[in-house]
Symmetry: C2
Subunit: 669 residues, 2 copies
């Protein structure tokens, strides 16, 4: 097949005039995005390469490509030589300029630790712990006793632990003889045992000269954020908590985009490598933070939504997005660290938490476990707000569940100045009703770098209550100061650092690149020296996210015939959940207008559930039962959900009677 | 570290003047043999790189090396620039000429098939077979039944087969969804089930659109020869039998040399690769011969001595040769084909037959199983003659076993014109007592290429009875014709093709490179146009081999207080066993002087045992019991064995009264 030379010019201001060239020879028919990957050039594909987001546009400077779709480009763009890399087929030599790519926040979060985690009640390291150390003293072999090394060890372990079967991997088997001789037949065996297995079966994980500390990992793979807890398996204590954006984000911002991207030839292995890369960097950071030798990490329990679990294992996820929406697997058999390339002890047991359905995954069963919902007699609604919104309603007698696609807006992605809840994020905002001047609080008391989920909710609510936004989410252009000599941009008076005008108008509302926007922080105040604003498009994304969630739980309650008012507890999990202001979340119509004391924010319930499962056999048993008890309800089965979603695309809702307290507050302003 | 250039000149006559140069850069301190391996140059190390055999000698043409040992080189050799590659440390640039390497017979044996193999009694494919096909018809998923693919399949399998647990590998899990959809939810599952496991546990091996044929492999890894049977698992029939020299031979001819070689840094992986290479070439040949798609091979049962099993698995074998002589493992857990890189279905189950001790391995338990020794009330002696001689004495009530190192002489290795029992091998020899002219029979009625084990035994016996050899194994030089004009070589008169002289002397005895030798076939008769002779050194090697075996079984019988005469059956396994002439084997003192009808030759009992285990769960259970019932007796514990060995280094023995029938025959001649 004909080969063509594709040359990429990286238009990165940081590189100045010396922007590097990267070239690669590719066969006819290859996509520009694939050629870029081969050349080691990063081109983000937030829609997973569907040609829907337009973010992979590149500029052709020489040669031509066949354009499959130019949906997101104007005729002028196309005429000027722009093309969507994910839709451009190479058919000859071509040179391409790649614009600066949106940098994904890769910084690890290790500074904002969830406060002391409660070690699950009844945890007893000696009886329930899944990983154990067993001291074994063997009689050395002699001419009178030529028993082989492995039988000698197994016989001792069987006697000491009362098990029938001892399993071992070939790589570990290769090391046993040497360790036994070096330790003079006095060793510590690290074993995984499960007293609830049908026969007492034991897995040998390592053989050491002395008792090592035992560590484990509880991991939550979110579509946007991966969280990882390093746990001391003896005390049950969490010794490090780290989180980072999922490395797959550049290949799709939501699960659907990722499935589409992964389903293309050869991409699934790349997707697996990306998330494993993220997990390994988190593991390394956690190990360094807590000064833990990663060879002493003998187990990892992993939760995540079903798509994330499939992509982690490189199991085809295509059936998740196609009717009738089934997963390949919900109950994954136990694996080893070497199966996935996790950089801990290669023999470490990898336990994937069981899921329920395509859109109610292991993260939700873990959430139900850690929230205690399945054991309580009170009617409880549990919701996990991440990139997807999953909802569980029930009590100890019954559990129903559904899912809706919220998008990543509340995780700070898909919002131009959005960011994760880490140092430098604006997490709370107040706006003065008269001056329209904002006041904000930043995580870590640092200069602001962006706005996280709780900050966005507060901002939306404040903008709505002060009239900066109308019910439909439109910025009020009448509040904008239009100066005669500059119709578009209204820079602040630098001395004042404010946008106040005497006429109740504000320079903070302005016409930006993406339409009208409101400036929350001026360049002079920020970490990066650039304005932090919220745009019309951001507001739209946030409204769609909150409408999807609201529609999800109201339709679910309706389906099972339970009035929302009879819900006694409203538990909220998810990475942003712990810090949001209920009043403001109700004001924008994200949460229902119920008494505040009924709401409880639980933080990342998925990683908490994984943590319980990691420590305790009984919890593993319980989560399997939870997964089988949950009845999944498909919201897309009829139009009810879509209608509820459309009605919720307002602040707080088309039907203000559903939000009496908000109506009341609006009357006051 | 300093790097040095090592250049190898291959002195191969076949390459003529254009003998290629191969160069490699190596650090200070590397052995020449390692450098050769890096450069892809083959240098045989039959003693495993101990500097004992002298066969790796090379000629230095430029530069110098540090010689660790020159034990096998004369002062003249060293002065002339010869060095042992396995003992030469590179310390500067050096050029080396590598003499032609002894070619190891790599030809597959597929032409001499063991006649019809009896399918083990009571074999019933439906109930006892280890691999099964299960047709499964699944209800396709729908919006009303969103069960995941894996649970859907497992539920069906559990119902149909009444099992508790279904295991699967991650690679197979990745394929399941696609196969189920392509077959429209109507598939054949290939499963391994073991009704005797503590809980009914089932291993999924493959998922197919329709019922494939099922094949398995029974493999015996001998130190010298690897044998492989391809078996139809439904009928139990053997569809192909192939054998080949073990690719490890160039790295040591006996187990001790191989252990020494493998114990050196990095060599163990090479040893594993060599034997797996041999097995894969056998598998390919068997598949081709029987027209079997190797993806339909779902199981392999492997037997071999303990060293071979350790090297196959790349488990350190060093403890086997060091007191107190223990193996790392006798009962190897089940493995998969992908663990070892066997080129059959990657999910195929690899079942390693259990062994007993360092020198009584899986080949012997397999031999005991296939010989039926453990079930018979008659006192039976079983012996397996390969490179090692292993002996089992007992009946259904008790079993004792021992081992002695026979060397590979009877397998045709370590004998200059020795070869395996394949086409072109002289397998029977008769010598005329007056003319001293031989007559021989060749396998396949071809021109002779060499002499196999049975031929060597016959030759030794005939030479002894005709006075060509004395009691001590010395060639009778007085029978040699010494021509005046040529003291050393006596070429035959080409027309006559005979070495007859009128004076009862013969030209067939002559002074050769390795001392006195007897010519069995003149160049004009042979396949390669070279004389086939047996040398003094060959006779020595054969005497040592037979003496070791004789000493082994007599000492074992003595230890348990059983007179050899009370043995009711004498069963002989081993690759050469099936074809030897009992009378002649008794005449050289290899077998005891017992009534001929008590001897029974069983051929390769190891591969036969592996075959039974492959087919039938009950046989697998029985072989485990056999392994645990056998009491190993260490012959090296005192001097008895050595004394018996020394007394047996004669034809037939120092004490002729132990061989009354031979004494009788000698009186007649």
């Amino acid at each position: 097949m004909a080969q063509h030379l594709v040359t990429f010019h990286l238009d990165d201001p940081a590189l100045g005039a010396h922007a590097p060239l990267r070239s690669v020879h590719v066969p006819t028919g290859m996509l520009l995005t694939e050629a870029a990957r081969m050349a080691g050039v990063e081109i983000a594909q937030p829609c997973g390469g569907q040609g829907r987001c337009g973010r992979c546009a590149v500029h052709l400077t020489q040669g031509e490509v066949r354009r499959r779709s130019t949906l997101r480009l104007s005729a002028e763009d196309v005429a000027a030589g722009y093309a969507l890399a994910c839709q451009s087929v190479v058919e000859g030599d071509v040179s391409v300029t790649v614009p600066p790519q949106e940098k994904i926040e890769r910084r690890l979060t290790t500074d904002r630790v969830v406060a002391e985690v409660e070690v699950p009640g009844g945890y007893d390291a000696r009886t329930l712990q899944t990983i154990q150390r067993v001291s074994v003293s063997l009689t050395p072999p002699s001419l009178d006793d030529q028993t082989d090394d492995w039988s000698r060890l197994v016989t001792a372990l069987r006697q000491q632990l009362d098990v029938e079967e001892v399993q071992v991997s070939l790589p570990l088997l290769r090391r046993i003889g040497q360790v036994l001789r070096e330790t003079e037949w006095d060793v510590t065996a690290i074993v995984e045992s499960n007293p609830q297995a049908p026969t007492a079966r034991l897995q040998l994980l390592d053989l050491r000269p002395s008792e090592p500390p035992l560590y484990g990992l509880a991991i939550d793979i979110g579509t946007t954020t991966v969280s990882c807890w390093l746990v001391d398996l003896i005390s049950g204590k969490v010794v490090a908590q780290v989180a980072e954006y999922n490395g797959q984000i550049a290949r799709g911002e939501d699960v659907i985009s990722r499935i589409i991207y992964a389903s293309k030839n050869g991409n699934s292995a790349e997707m697996q490598a990306l998330v494993i890369g993220t997990i390994n960097s988190l593991i390394a950071a956690a190990g360094e933070k807590a000064k833990v030798d990663l060879q002493n990490v003998f187990k990892a329990t992993i939760a995540g939504n079903s798509t994330m679990m499939h992509l982690l294992l490189d199991i085809p996820a295509a059936s998740i997005r196609l009717a009738p929406f089934v997963t390949a697997i919900n109950h994954v058999p136990p694996l080893k660290a070497f199966d996935l390339g996790l950089k801990i002890n290669p023999e470490a047991v990898i336990d994937c938490v069981p899921g329920v359905a395509s859109y109610v995954g292991a993260d939700i069963t873990a959430g139900v476990l850690s929230s205690g919902l399945g054991d309580d007699e009170r009617l409880t609604l549990f919701m996990d707000v991440g990139t997807n919104g999953e909802i569980v309603l029930g009590n100890r007698d019954w559990l129903v569940t559904c899912a809706c696609s919220a998008g990543p807006a509340f995780e700070g992605a898909g919002v131009i100045n959005g960011m994760r809840a880490t140092r430098g994020a604006i997490e709370e905002v107040w706006i003065n009703g008269e001056t329209l001047e904002p006041n904000y609080r930043v995580i870590g008391n640092a200069k602001p770098r962006g706005i996280c989920g709780s900050g966005l909710i507060a901002l939306l609510s404040e903008m709505f209550l002060t009239g900066l936004l109308d019910k439909g989410g439109n910025l009020n252009s009448s509040l904008m100061i239009v100066e005669e000599d500059d119709l578009h941009f209204a820079p602040p008076e630098k001395s004042a650092g404010s946008g106040v005008s005497l006429h109740g108008q504000t320079r903070r509302i302005r016409q930006g690149e993406h339409g009208l926007e409101y400036v929350v922080a001026w360049a002079s105040e920020t970490w990066h020296g650039k304005d932090i604003a919220i745009t019309h498009v951001d507001v739209d994304n946030l409204l769609r996210a909150k409408a999807a969630i609201y529609a999800g739980y109201t339709v679910l309650a309706e389906r099972v015939g339970v009035p929302l008012e009879s819900v006694e507890r409203f538990l909220i999990g998810g990475s942003f959940g712990k810090y949001i202001n209920v009043e403001k979340a109700v004001q924008i119509g994200l949460l229902p207008d119920l008494p505040w004391e009924q709401f409880q924010f639980l933080g990342n319930t998925s990683v908490k559930g994984a943590y319980r499962v990691l420590l305790n056999h009984n919890e593993r048993e319980r989560i399997t039962q939870i997964a089988s008890r949950m009845t999944y309800i498909e919201l897309s089965a009829d139009n009810t959900f879509y209608e509820a979603f459309t009605s919720a695309l307002f602040l707080p809702h088309t039907d203000l009677s559903k939000f009496p307290n908000v109506a009341n507050a609006l009357t006051k302003t």
